[in-house]
Subunit: 368 residues, 2 copies
């Protein structure tokens, strides 16, 4: 997959960098881990520091000094999940900021403007994430809105995608920008992509219809959204399995917001090219560690004098150097280093798992 | 200065790693910054995870995977500063844990046992940190106790210093321990050192007497303690200037708990070899940044769109890559990465300042 800022090898897992930071991890360590592409949350970045500020700073890559690829979501998911008082109309969604309660409005056109200002490599169509459970009539109605919004997203995006922030600012005044591949050195012809999002609740025929109608609109890539919203895991797998055949194999197929290590392996083997999830980073901050032997809670007393690494099969920078005993102590003492090291390991575990799949190594499902 | 784990070039600034972590900084980045020796707090480590646990884990170096030198304080300062209900007797100090209120007792002998269990390269004599202000009679009485405790500290330390934790555990079961210079590869003859601490309040004659009596006891290094306890800065400088001449030039002279960048340069130029302070790390977590142009509060709105690095004169890994605008955003968003990056820069600034002094470069006093 060739993107403005980099080529990305698939299948790929995208660490989540909600507000211009993959929580607790310096960018150069994220590079060392082999992260090829990260996800930024449009809703959060729009509220703070604001997309206009990021545009003036030369785009999100330059603002956060991340030289590889960035995918931004549309903001839809957060608007729906963080807002109890949202008001949906044909035009878009009115919502209140979770930071200060201020009123805001997102339409497909506005979401595109924000994502273009951020300068992401891949933008996502503005969609309504159908809640779970939703009855058929509700899922049908929600899907129709999502499809009309997809059309509007594409029209607006194609008309404005050339307004890249990285052509609009002078060079960085410090020698810093020379390091790596500064966003301002982007070839002027490099264009971001917009992906469509398949919704349709848990209904097979709606998912098929959504896929087919999006394919008619001809997006350069397709996502399956509206999963991991509370449905049983078997249902997630079913919806993915039933939707994938209607999405072209020669374009990236992205399942949003999944999952546990065994899920990402399973979905990648089914043909999914891209996945993102807060799980490895968020769990790390709470002491939940993913390993080749299964999950462990590093806060557990039984690790208090354990000389071994988090995962004996893992060669990451954390497992090479630190013992479970030390990492348990850092959590018990609420040391900020705990979040840094736990996150580094969990991301290494996810990224190495995907690397193994790319190398076509025999990758057994990690234990649940 | 040759220590069991490493040789240390002086003058040296020692980052503070209170509970086996220089807050928010992974050990390999601390090495990249050029930190030669860090300080561990005996009081905190005794309470959590406990010195016996650390001994069983092979000592503090191995527990935290830090291959360079470690100095431990005696616990005295924290016992006195964190405890309102402490009870001082000739034998030692009874105090309550700030974690759970539990009763504990520290004597000179016990402090030595704890520091030997931690396996530090440099241990400190157990002292009473005289409060400020203290009248002459109080300072006299406190100093006499400190000197009797210094004698007891030395006797006990010399009798037990061969009980090094790093000779007492088997090799690390993971390949990790082969990385760097594992503590268990220490030469068996390597012995830790015990430094004496000069007290005496702000009284010139008491400081002189303390220095002379400690020199008679023949320590391998001497610290000036009881400063930065609330006295005016000019007085700190005076006490240091008046005490240094009574401490041998050919042994390390250490001023505890200082200071601002201009102070550490000034004291180093006066002949101080070692300093430690929580300032660069603690201030960083609150957004206070030290630069060649003075201090700045990175939370300030005026940095919101500032493309420049924290310090244009600084070549550290943070200044090479990140803008003030980004670092301000991380603070505003309470991102954990803010503490990591701010701390890396502040430590780089302190350590580079000392490097310049060692290189005998003309080092002007940094702005206040």
């Amino acid at each position: 997959m060739t993107l403005p800022h980099t080529a990305v090898e698939t299948p790929v897992f995208m660490p989540v960098g909600t507000v211009a930071s993959v929580k607790a991890v310096p960018q150069h360590l994220l590079e060392e881990l082999g992260a090829q592409i990260i996800l930024g949350n449009t809703y959060h970045l729009y509220l703070r520091p604001g997309h206009e500020l990021i545009r003036r700073m030369g785009g999100l890559h330059r603002f956060m000094s991340w030289h590889r690829a960035i995918l931004t979501d549309s903001g839809g998911f957060q608007v729906f999940s963080l807002n109890e008082l949202r008001k949906v109309t044909e035009d878009g969604v009115e919502f209140r900021s979770h930071l200060d309660g201020g009123k805001h409005f997102f339409s497909p056109e506005h979401s595109m403007d924000v994502q273009i200002a951020l300068g992401s490599d891949i933008a996502m169509a503005f969609d309504e994430c159908t809640e779970y459970p939703a009855d058929y009539a509700r899922a049908r109605k929600s899907l129709d809105l999502t499809l009309r919004w997809a059309e509007r997203s594409k029209t607006h995006f194609d008309a404005h995608k050339h307004e890249r922030p990285w052509n609009q600012v002078p060079s960085h005044p410090s020698p810093a920008a020379q390091d790596g591949a500064p966003a301002s050195n982007m070839p002027p012809e490099a264009m971001p992509s917009l992906f469509g999002i398949v919704q349709g609740g848990m209904y097979k025929d709606l998912r098929r219809e959504a896929a087919e109608r999006l394919v008619e609109m001809d997006f350069p890539g397709y996502a399956i959204g509206g999963l991991s919203v509370g449905e049983p895991r078997e249902l997630t797998r079913e919806v993915i399995a039933e939707t994938l055949p209607y999405l072209p194999k020669d374009k990236p197929r992205y399942v949003m917001g999944v999952g546990y290590p065994d899920e990402i392996v399973e979905y990648a083997k089914m043909g999914v090219d891209m996945m993102d999830c807060v799980l490895p980073t968020r769990a790390a901050r709470h002491g939940l560690i993913f390993t080749s032997e299964g999950r462990l809670n590093i806060k557990n007393r039984r690790f208090a004098e354990d000389h071994g690494p988090l995962d004996p099969e893992c060669g990451c920078m954390v497992c090479q150097r630190y013992s479970r005993a030390y990492l348990r102590h850092l959590m018990a003492s609420q040391e900020p280093l705990a979040a840094v090291l736990n996150t580094l390991h969990n991301l290494a575990f996810y990224l190495n798992t995907m690397q193994r799949l790319r190398d076509r190594l025999d990758t057994p499902l990690p234990p649940e």
